[in-house]
């Protein structure tokens, strides 16, 4: 599964996208997998998962073809 990253998450990944082995998991499970692989994510105030350009609920199941992104705390405006 390809996970897009922005802001500080992009810097933590060292890349605008990473590949994660996590097909069929929920958004909450993906968060845990990412935190294990990238421990600095656990230091953030929070981070969300977006699926196909919408904030995912913790239970949202992610399919292989979904566009998945990690959304660190936003700070626009």
């Amino acid at each position: 599964m390809r996970v897009l990253a922005f802001g500080i998450a992009r810097e933590i990944f060292g890349s605008a996208a990473v590949d994660v082995v996590a097909d069929g998991v929920s958004a909450a499970e993906l968060q845990e997998i990412l935190k294990k692989q990238y421990p600095r994510l656990a230091q953030l105030s929070s981070f969300m998962i977006a699926v196909n350009g919408e904030y995912a609920q913790p239970g949202t199941i992610i399919s292989a073809n979904d566009e998945v992104a990690i959304i660190p705390p936003v700070s626009g405006g």
Partner: protein, 138 residues
Amino acid sequence: MIEIKISSEPLNISSCIDWVMSPEAGGIDVFIGAVRNMTKGKQVVRLEFEAYEAMALKEMEKIAKDVCAKWPVHNVLIHHRSGVLSIGDIPVVIVVSAAHRAAAFDACRYAIDTLKETVPIWKKEVFEDGEQWVAAHP
């Protein structure tokens, strides 16, 4: 009507205001965000804005539609910059027109408050001696 944009070019405040004007509008409220020279006592050199553009546009549109559902407003415009901004540059312009001013004020304020909570745009503050992604850490 709704007008949403994320742009790497400077925002044109006058065009934004012209766009919302209509013969039915008696009150127009405009919020302009500007890059301040100081944050928490530290001199800011520049800000760098990054957007998850497709999603940010969707979230901005949701805010504008929410505004139209919650208040009797005519036109809502939300424009946001991306890229590198210097002191005095304009990251965001929100303009709301309504028959009466109360709705324009309430709607405009709701729009910027919500934008800062939900729209996937990130800013990095760059100082003389370092940098940080705003709000990233507790």
